[in-house]
């Protein structure tokens, strides 16, 4: 299991424009980090760099003792702006596929469905769901297929106040079980977290 996230002197640029440089972050099991900053400051790019989807100009990203490639394939969940859901598929098919793809099983899926209250949505096509319902569907795979590090890009934005609170409880549970969270946010994160402001 991944024991830590260590970022040292990271620099990232996009389209020839430097976003940030000299960025450092250390996260241990049970800790969360809230990334803040203006639009375009590089929060999403940092999350994608941690996930290995984007190359850094300089610096290092480590995952404790674990091999980075292995960690990214088996220990990281990414919830980006887009939920990765196919509009023509049913919610049930999408959830089942992404759960298995992320290493979960259908028995763990059942409790995730109840916790996110999406059982009545399962037979609907994804295109019929609201933005908040789609986000809950995407978040269900985090619970159904446990992985240590959650990378969340604006996870709360489509959720109403009730579900913001409930997802806060789910994040607390994840940290309590030794997980880690890095979340790019504009609103306050409903859990204790160190704040890393990019390009203050």
């Amino acid at each position: 299991m991944m024991s830590a996230l260590e970022i040292k002197e990271l620099a990232i640029s996009r389209g020839g424009r430097p976003l940030f440089q000299g960025l450092n972050l250390n996260l241990s099991a049970g800790q969360a980090c809230a990334l803040t900053g203006r639009n375009g400051s590089g929060k999403t790019s940092l999350l994608r760099a941690i996930a290995g989807l984007l190359s850094a100009d300089t610096g290092e990203i480590g995952f404790g003792e674990q091999d980075p490639d292995q960690a990214r394939r088996t220990e990281i969940h990414l919830v980006g702006h887009a939920d990765g859901l196919k509009s023509g598929q049913t919610a049930r098919d999408e959830l089942a596929f992404w759960t298995r793809w992320s290493g979960g099983n259908l028995s763990s899926l059942d409790s995730a469905i109840d916790r996110l209250d999406i059982r009545r949505l399962l037979d609907l096509e994804v295109r019929r769901l609201s933005a908040g319902q789609k986000r809950r569907l995407a978040l269900a795979r985090l619970l159904a297929a446990p992985r240590t590090l959650w990378l969340l890009d604006e996870p709360l934005s489509p959720l109403d106040s009730v579900w913001r609170t409930r997802f806060g409880e789910m994040m607390s549970d994840h940290l309590g079980s030794g997980g880690m969270i890095v979340a790019a946010i504009h609103d306050p994160l409903p859990i204790p977290a160190q704040v890393l402001e990019i390009n203050p």
Binding site: R48, A51, G52, L53, L54, S55, R72, R73, T74, I76, H77, L78, G80, H81, A82, D83, G84, L85, K86, S87, G88, Q89, F97, W98, R100, W101, S102, G103
Partner: protein, 221 residues
């Protein structure tokens, strides 16, 4: 392996929805079989002479159905990010996506190819070779076209760019397959063209996913 099977099932179903399936294939060939006599004249001898080549070129062009969405939709809706964060190498994921595309589009087209060839007046003795060539050639087309689909990821008017990239890659299999069919119909040795077609398909299957994965990583970054 079960993960690969899950992805293959999903990709086949999604490709089916993107323009694959037997009805679309049958409709495509039906259109060709209807339009060709109108354009080239109804003389049976003339149609019979071009029937194998027409069936073959139709297969190549029909492969472009839904091709521009092979990676683009995953790129737009974030699924490509999630597919990358998996125990399966991205190269293998790309190969499975192409295989799913072939199962949904190429396989029905290959099964319909000999029927079209006979419907246009071609020799029934040629039909088995048309079928086998279409099966092998369809794989070559699917994996070669996947390179174009991946390279055009994120580009404006990506569908047009995909066709521009892909059509030159189709030239060798069209020549090899068409040559084998023409040689067979003329009573000449045909195996060389067919073997070259198989070699091209093998190369496309082996090397195509490497290029696709590199193009996908570049687009994601």
């Amino acid at each position: 392996m079960s993960l690969a099977w899950e992805l293959l099932k999903r990709e086949t179903a999604l490709s089916w929805g993107r323009g694959g399936g037997p009805l679309v294939s049958a409709g495509f060939y039906l259109g060709v079989a209807t339009l060709l006599p109108l354009a080239a004249g109804p003389e049976p001898a003339r149609l019979a002479a071009v029937a194998p080549g027409v069936a073959w070129v139709t297969l190549a062009l029909a492969t472009l159905l839904g091709l521009d969405r092979l990676f683009e939709r995953d790129y737009e809706d974030g699924a490509l990010d999630l597919l990358t964060l998996s125990p399966l190498p991205l190269e293998f994921v790309c190969a499975l996506k192409c295989l799913g595309q072939w199962l949904a589009t190429g396989l029905p087209l290959a099964l319909a190819a000999p029927i079209t060839e006979i419907a246009l007046g071609g020799s029934p003795t040629l039909a088995p070779l048309v079928l086998v060539s279409a099966l092998v050639g369809g794989l070559a087309f699917a994996f070669a076209s996947g390179i174009g689909a991946a390279l055009s990821l994120g580009a404006r008017r990506g569908g047009l760019l995909t066709a521009v990239i892909v059509l030159p890659l189709f030239t060798p299999p069209v020549i090899f397959g068409g040559g084998a069919l023409d040689a067979f119909a003329s009573g000449l040795p045909w195996s060389a063209g067919f073997v070259l077609l198989c070699a091209y398909a093998a190369a496309a299957i082996a090397l195509g996913p490497l290029a696709m994965a590199a193009a996908c990583r570049n687009a994601l970054s």
